[in-house]
């Protein structure tokens, strides 16, 4: 038995240790790895009617991936322009949502972490309680706020900012706001966690030596908070790129999210292999993007867990 396992069993006892280990293994292997592997398997197979599955035609193929890039065979265009456009638009939008979220949440997290007093707890509660409401309801609530005759338009028209109601939905503003809002906590809490452990004396020391607030954040707080920032950004990016409800409800009629294409393949076209291929492409691209950015910003994998 390897040493870490022996230590693990010594600490937790054989009975409880085995149960916990079993559950964790079941969780990771049974509920995460195996389903993903079967998706991967799907993505390399042709879409066949049930009787032919496992038959002579059921051979591994790259068809589904080719489809994303080149479109239907014999199609009018060289590339699958529509789907590719949705794909990179989704990625760019997810990056933008992440950045927007970071800019919004870093000050909040800093304030929460470095201030004490009862109002902080109330503020934290005000951030958390809306998340007791289900995601779809929240999205519809935003739709009501941003709608043509919604609260916001009434207000803006009433104040004379606009003559006619502004279409927040068609302009994707509602979508970005919804996605931004949906993952605010996932950004705030990792950053809050790290900054909270930052010794306030360090900030004062920097201030004492004459540093401006910008410099204090740039040289002292942000480097320290980097693990939290990366972990928050990773989660928000992954989740917004993979979001379905918000784009479905808040997206404009002309703007599709890549997940909606995946959903259509699975659901409307009943083409599971095609949907699986799209999903795999999205997942792999997102992971590669995150890894590349981690490399650029010199973040270690271990930091993400902080």
């Amino acid at each position: 038995m390897p040493r870490f396992l022996r230590e693990y069993f010594n600490r937790n006892g054989v009975g409880l240790g085995s149960i916990m280990l079993g559950l964790v293994l079941f969780w990771t292997i049974g509920l995460i790895i195996l389903p993903q592997l079967s998706m991967l398997d799907f993505s390399f197979r042709p879409n066949l009617p049930p009787p032919e599955i496992g038959g002579p035609k059921d051979l591994y193929t790259l068809e589904n991936y080719k489809y994303l890039i080149f479109g239907p065979e014999g199609g009018s265009q060289d590339y699958n322009a529509v789907d590719l456009k949705v794909f990179y638009r989704t990625l760019i939008a997810a990056v933008l949502v992440t950045l927007f979220n970071l800019m919004l949440c870093y000050p909040i997290a800093y304030y929460l972490a470095q201030t004490n007093g009862n109002h902080i707890r109330i503020l934290a509660l005000m951030l958390i309680i809306p998340y007791w409401i289900n995601e779809i309801l929240r999205a519809f609530a935003l739709r009501i706020i941003f709608g043509e005759s919604g609260v916001l338009n009434n207000l803006l028209v009433g104040m004379g900012v606009f003559d006619t109601p502004f279409d927040f939905i068609r302009n994707d503003i509602a979508l970005y706001a919804g996605l931004g809002y949906a993952y605010i906590l996932l950004m705030i809490f990792p950053i809050y966690n790290v900054i909270e452990s930052l010794d306030r004396n360090q900030i004062e020391a920097a201030r004492d030596m004459g540093a401006s607030w910008t410099r204090i954040h740039r040289r002292v707080v942000i480097p320290y908070a980097k693990p939290g920032i990366s972990s928050g950004c990773t989660m928000v990016f992954m989740l917004s790129a993979g979001a379905l409800a918000a784009p479905q409800i808040l997206g404009g009629p002309s703007s599709l999210w890549f997940t909606q294409l995946i959903y259509q393949q699975f659901n409307d076209n009943s083409d599971w292999p095609q949907g699986a291929a799209y999903a795999v492409v999205l997942l792999v691209t997102c992971i590669l993007l995150v890894l590349a950015l981690m490399r650029v910003f010199k973040v270690n994998m271990g930091d993400i867990g902080k």
């Binding site: 201030r207 004492d208 030596m209 004459g210 540093a211 401006s212 040289r219 320290y224």
Partner: protein, 370 residues
């Protein structure tokens, strides 16, 4: 001594809500002095230091640095550098970056900063360790880096908040003399905070003794030790034996006190209280352990004390004898080891003599609890 930048506190009050942390402090610190604030935990030392460095606005009164009123001037604009109780080095910056952070703020080039860092590293005997991270240094080394970082900012006044409290005894003693050395070399004003009276006495030109937000006494180490102003100062600084009683007779600057357990004893009135003690006042008489000498058993008189011996300790240079004292407390007597032999037995009485000049009489007051 070169005229450094002095610091004055004028009628300084600091309140947190209803709580008064500093009460009407008036302190004049000469430029180039090593000045200590000495007091027990929670008496307001850090609070005073934060008011000097600018992290805290006084509720009333003024902080003057080099004669300039610092009202409304932020910590980043004051000519002070603060060394924190926990040092607060930047963990993600290398040692040399830590040290020269103040130069980075002023826009110095990396080359200049490197050069200055090397000079300072030489000074603190850490040559060649500039590329380490603070976590790779020992406690005493971190300490020195914090000092170098503060000195690099070229402050007029260096503020030190119990910087040695985290170190072990030996290192602490070493760092004391090192700090004193550095202070002499750079010639700037040091304001040092400590609750360790030995530290304050050995290092400082002047000491302020604080109790619960009030400054009891300011003076050099000798004055504070030999001529305390208040019962608190007498009992907090160094070891002291207290005799409670009432004033029986005032004779010039001496006084006879009718003590509860040793009869009438003579003492010198602390110089700040001459003329203030009257017959019938509650008084306290303080005699240091080393002020006693052995007397023939049973001698009577106004500068003799007889008490029962509880235990005896041989410390090499002195014999410490613990005798029955007041209110269940023990009275400590230190007799120099001069090769003499004397008889002292547990449970038996012993008579001691003191020079009236070495006994200090003070109005009764709060004692330091240990």
């Amino acid at each position: 001594m070169s005229a450094g930048v002095g610091v004055n506190l004028e009628n300084l009050w600091i309140r947190f809500g209803d709580f008064v942390a500093v009460r009407d402090a008036n302190v004049n610190i000469n430029g180039g002095d090593f000045f200590s604030f000495l007091g027990p935990s929670g008496c307001g030392k850090t609070t005073i230091l934060r008011a000097v460095s600018g992290f805290l606005e006084p509720s009333e009164g003024n902080v003057l640095i080099g004669g300039n009123n610092m009202k409304g001037i932020g910590p980043n604009k004051r000519p002070t550098a603060l060394i924190f109780q926990n040092l607060a080095l930047f963990p993600l910056m290398k040692v040399w970056e830590n040290i020269t952070f103040s130069m980075e703020i002023k826009g110095a080039s990396a080359k200049e900063r490197r050069k200055r860092a090397d000079e300072l590293l030489d000074m603190i005997a850490l040559s060649g360790q500039g590329d380490k991270l603070p976590s790779e240094l020992s406690g005493g080394q971190k300490q020195r880096v914090a000092i170098a970082r503060a000195l690099c900012a070229e402050p007029d006044v260096l503020l030190l908040d119990e910087p040695l409290s985290a170190l072990d005894l030996k290192l602490r003693q070493h760092m004391r003399s090192e700090l004193r050395e550095i202070q002499k070399r750079v010639g700037i004003t040091f304001i040092y905070i400590t609750h360790d009276q030995g530290e304050a006495l050995t290092m400082s030109d002047n000491v302020a003794v604080m109790r619960a937000g009030v400054i009891d006494q300011i003076g050099d180490g000798k004055t504070i030790y030999n001529d305390p102003n208040t019962a608190f100062a007498a009992s907090f600084v160094g070891e002291n034996n207290v005799f409670r009683g009432t004033v029986k007779k005032v004779i010039g600057d001496e006084v006879m006190i009718n003590t509860n357990r040793s009869g009438d004893l003579m003492a010198r009135i602390s110089s700040s209280n001459v003329g203030k003690m009257k017959e019938g006042d509650d008084a306290m008489l303080f005699i240091r352990p080393e002020a006693f000498s052995l007397a023939p058993l049973g001698t009577q008189g106004d500068h003799f004390v007889t008490a029962e011996v509880h235990k005896e300790e041989f410390e090499g240079n002195v014999f410490n004898i613990f005798m029955e004292g007041e209110g269940g407390k023990e009275m400590k007597v230190s007799l120099p080891n001069l090769g003499q032999s004397f008889e002292s037995h547990k449970g038996e009485p012993m008579t001691l003599e003191y020079d009236v000049h070495n006994a200090v009489a003070l109005p009764a007051g709060v004692l330091a609890t240990e």
